[in-house]
Every structure is written in structure tokens, then in C-alpha cells.
């Protein structure tokens, strides 16, 4: 489903973020990327989103080379992905409902479809009762759950979560990870970048360890080893 083929990313002039990274992700997998800050985890995910282009190598998603796709084709790829960021990236002037609905508006969904789907995903993340509150009125954990609902509402093939628990306390961290696991159990592939050792060791899922831009380890039931 997803394939990184000898991917190297160098930021000018000499900063090597990734060096000849290769791996594949099958449909329905839950894959965690771990490593120190600056190891290249976020860069790896940004390449899949085509926020960045690799210096060399190729990123392939569902048979399409993401880095070779024309600019006007990128929206179509991104609509098959759902993204959760560490800083939530919610639109502050829109309510929780509107933040989630936005994705379906972008896709041209009708009002009735939007109403049904948004309510369903907000219910899944446990925030239906707070649908009409603005992000500033929600806690950090609640905001992240809204972000997850937004990432999920259009039923993407893959959810990309880049340090989703970075700004959260342990309780909210546990809730968010449980949510991601549940989403994965329903069939969505999840890519999680984190430097939270507890999260990784509890998950017991596939772990790819990055060190200085290289793929150091790829373990099916990995642990975060310092």
C-alpha cells in the first residue's frame, strides 16, 4: 500500500533528514516510527503527504508515485489520507462540528451526508455533546480528538498521526492512542510518529526505529529501546 524506496531527503545546504530509507506498509497495519527528535520521523510522514519532495528515491502510495504527481493531482491523493498533528491545526474560528465538516465540504459532499458523517465520527471520539464549541473552549485532549475526527470523517485509507500526544498529559495520551488502535481495528492503516516510549511499549505493534535519518530497526512487535 505504501512503499518508501531508497528515500533520501537533504535540506539545503547539508542537513540530511533521511538517508536511503526503504520499507513497505501493508493495508490495515499499525506502524509506529520512533526515534529522537530530529531523527527524521516527521519528514518521513511529510513526504507521504507531499508537503516535501525527496531528494532522491520514491514514495509510492497505492501504486502512485507521490513525488512525481502533478501539483493539481495532489488534492486527490491527500483526500485518501487523514492527518493528525501534534498542534492539532484546528481552525480557531470554526466549531468542532465545522472543523470536521470542512473535509467533506472540500470533497463536495451534500449537507445531509455531512450532517450524518460528522455526527457519527464525533460520537466515535466521544465529542458529540461538544460539537458546537470552538477549539478554544476545549481541552487539549478534546482538541486532539476533534483533529482525529477530522482525519477520520472521510474514511481515509490511511491515518497519519505526527506526535499526536506530544502536547497531552498521560491520561489524554492513553485515550488518543486507544482511539487510534480502535480506528486501526476497523481497517484503517495507521502511521504513528512518536517519541513516547510508554505508548510504543504498550502497543506491541510494528515499530520502525530511525537513527540519524537511517532506518535502524524494523520489528513486528517492537519496543522503544534507548
Amino acid at each position: 500500500m505504501i512503499s518508501y524506496q531508497q528515500v533520501t531527503k537533504i535540506y539545503e545546504p547539508e542537513l540530511v533528514a533521511l538517508r536511503e530509507v526503504s520499507f513497505e506498509v501493508k493495508p490495515g497495519e499499525f506502524v509506529s516510527f520512533v526515534g529522537k527528535s530530529g531523527a527524521g520521523k516527521s519528514t518521513l510522514l511529510r513526504l507521504l503527504l507531499a508537503e516535501e519532495r525527496p531528494t532522491s528515491g520514491e514514495v509510492v502510495f497505492e501504486g502512485e508515485s507521490v513525488n512525481r504527481v502533478a501539483g493539481n493531482q495532489l488534492p486527490a491523493i491527500r483526500r485518501r489520507l487523514g492527518v493528525v498533528f501534534q498542534d492539532y491545526k484546528l481552525l480557531p474560528s470554526r466549531t468542532a462540528y465545522e472543523n470536521v465538516a470542512y473535509v467533506l465540504e472540500v470533497m463536495g459532499a451534500g449537507e445531509d451526508v455531512i450532517a450524518r458523517e460528522v455526527s457519527e465520527v464525533l460520537d466515535i471520539v466521544g465529542l458529540l455533546g461538544k460539537a458546537h464549541q470552538f477549539p478554544a473552549q476545549l481541552s487539549g485532549g478534546e482538541r486532539q480528538r476533534v483533529a482525529i475526527a477530522r482525519a477520520l470523517v472521510h474514511r481515509p485509507r490511511v491515518i497519519i498521526a505526527d506526535e499526536p500526544t506530544g502536547n497531552l498529559d498521560p491520561y489524554h495520551t492513553r485515550d488518543i492512542i486507544r482511539l487510534l488502535v480502535r480506528i486501526n481495528e476497523l481497517g484503517t492503516t495507521v502511521l504513528l510518529a512518536t517519541h513516547n516510549r510508554e505508548v510504543i511499549n504498550r502497543l506491541g505493534k510494528r515499530v520502525l526505529t530511525l537513527e540519524n535519518g537511517r532506518l535502524a530497526r524494523d520489528e513486528e512487535r517492537g519496543r522503544f529501546v534507548i
Binding site: 503527504l49 508537503e51 501539483g71 493539481n72 488534492p75 486527490a76 491523493i77 491527500r78 483526500r79 489520507l81 492527518v83 491545526k89 484546528l90 481552525l91 480557531p92 474560528s93 470542512y102 473535509v103 472540500v106 470533497m107 470552538f134 478554544a136 477530522r150
Partner: protein, 286 residues
């Protein structure tokens, strides 16, 4: 919670920009009127000898008026010249007594010529000196009036250039200020644009609302400017007419209303759309 301050600021700045353009249009009209008024006072007279018959003079008038640089030619007969002279000097006993002493009518018939521009008088004078009726001409008083004509020409040109430069510079300033305000409004939306791009919005989906906002801001600015302009002109018009008789700002407004409205809409909406388009381009590269 909804941020309207950036949009309001953009509209306010665009009202200023549109108002400035409107002011410049009125300034152009006003300065053109003033320059034309000054130029209208200039004329040269061609005096004909007593041997020239009235028909000769009228034929000369026909020939002169055909020149593209000539605006108006007035024939002043000997009798009329005398009448005007007597009216001008009625209170001057010495002049009137001298006239009686000379006897008869010493004044000559003439053609008073007004050109389209001060620069044309030299050309007209040259034409007169080489024309077929040159032998009938006693004098052309261009040389006597040349210094004044030249001065008026310089002042007119300076006013035109000055108004043009001022319009150009103020116009650029207005555009830059409005552009930066719109850019700031869009800058404040950069997070929103980033999210839009990352969830798969196409460039036009992202661009569209900002273009519409630009159009609406421009149209709103035009409407507000009109609402402010009409009572302002109503107030200032009589005061300006007292200073410069003959130029009615109020009449100028209504005489050019639709042109002005189109210009304002063009400037307002154009500025809004152009500013939005340029400002948002850098954020569409995500």
C-alpha cells in the same frame, strides 16, 4: 469568536484607496478646467489694412479657422473696434480728446484668434505671414503677447505634469497600502490555508473564498465611498465655486457619475481581486 477585524481593516483601507482615486479624478477635472480657463483668456489679433475689404477679411477668417490648431476666430470690424475702444476709455478724457483730434476712425479691422493650445500661436503666426492674404495684414500682435503666452504655456504644462505625477504617486501608494492590508488579512489566514491544502482542497477551492472576499471588499468600499462622497461634494461645491467661479463640483459629479462609479468599482474590485490573487499565491505552494 469569528475574526472580522482583518476584513474590516481591508475594507477601511480600500475605502481610502477608492476615495483617493475619486479625489484624483476630481482633481484632474478641476485642474483641466482651471488650465482651460487660463488658456481661454489668451488670443492674438491680426490687424488688417484699410485696403482690405470686409470680404477679404472674412475669406481670411475662413482660411484661418480651417487650421486644426485654431479653436475660434472672431471678426471685429473697424466700427466695432471703435465702439469697444470708446467703451474702454470712456472715463479717460485725454484719450477721448485725442481720438477726436485724430478724426475719423483710426482703428483697424481685426481677427481675434484663439488657439487650441498656447503652443499653437507661433504656428498660426507663421501661417499668417506666408498666407495669400499676408499683404493685407498690417500687424499680428503675437510678439507683444509672446512672453505672457509662453508663461501661460509653462504654467499649464506644469499643472498638467504636476497633477499627473501626484495622481501617479498617490495611486501607487494607495495600491501598495491596500495590497499590504489584504496581504495581512490573508497572512492571518495562513494556518487555515495550510489545513485546507492538507485535507485535499484544490487551489481554486482555497483561492475562491479569498477572491470573493476581495470582490466584496472592493464593492463594499465603493458603496461606502459613494455614501461619503455625495454629501461631501454637496458641502464643498458652493465653497469651491466661490473660489473658482464657473466650476461646479456638484455638476461635475452628476455629469460624470456613471464614469466615476465604474472607475470606483474597477479600482475597488480590481484592487481587491488583484491583491488577493497575489497575496494568496505564496500560500498555495504547500
Amino acid at each position: 469568536m469569528r475574526d472580522r477585524s482583518s476584513s474590516s481593516a481591508a475594507i477601511v483601507v480600500m475605502v481610502i484607496a477608492v476615495s483617493l482615486f475619486t479625489f484624483l479624478v476630481f482633481l484632474q477635472g478641476f485642474s483641466s478646467y482651471v488650465v482651460a480657463s487660463i488658456e481661454n483668456r489668451i488670443a492674438i489679433s491680426t490687424y488688417f489694412t484699410d485696403e482690405a475689404s470686409e470680404q477679404d477679411i472674412l475669406d481670411a477668417k475662413e482660411a484661418i479657422i480651417k487650421m486644426s490648431v485654431v479653436r475660434q476666430v472672431e471678426y471685429v470690424s473697424k466700427a466695432e473696434a471703435l465702439e469697444r475702444f470708446q467703451e474702454r476709455h470712456l472715463q479717460d478724457d485725454v484719450v477721448m480728446e485725442s481720438l477726436v483730434a485724430v478724426g475719423g476712425n483710426p482703428l483697424l479691422a481685426s481677427l481675434s484668434i484663439r488657439a487650441e493650445s498656447p503652443e499653437a500661436y507661433e504656428q498660426i503666426t507663421a501661417f499668417l505671414s506666408t498666407s495669400s492674404f499676408a499683404p493685407l495684414i498690417s500687424k499680428v500682435d503675437y510678439q507683444d503677447r509672446a512672453p505672457v503666452i509662453q508663461r501661460v504655456s509653462q504654467v499649464s504644462a506644469a499643472v498638467r505634469v504636476g497633477v499627473f505625477l501626484m495622481s501617479f504617486i498617490l495611486g501607487i501608494i494607495a495600491v501598495l497600502v491596500a495590497f499590504n492590508t489584504v496581504r495581512l488579512a490573508i497572512f492571518n489566514s495562513r494556518d487555515e490555508i495550510e489545513v485546507m491544502k492538507l485535507v485535499g482542497a484544490s487551489n481554486w477551492f482555497v483561492r475562491g473564498p479569498f477572491l470573493v472576499q476581495g470582490i466584496l471588499a472592493g464593492a463594499s468600499a465603493t458603496g461606502i465611498t459613494l455614501l461619503l462622497m455625495i454629501p461631501s461634494i454637496f458641502f464643498f461645491a458652493p465653497r469651491l465655486e466661490a473660489l473658482v467661479p464657473g466650476f461646479s463640483l456638484w455638476s461635475y459629479l452628476w455629469g460624470n457619475f456613471f464614469m466615476l462609479l465604474l472607475l470606483q468599482l474597477g479600482v475597488g474590485v480590481g484592487l481587491g481581486v488583484l491583491s488577493s490573487t497575489i497575496a494568496i499565491r505564496r500560500y498555495l505552494r504547500v
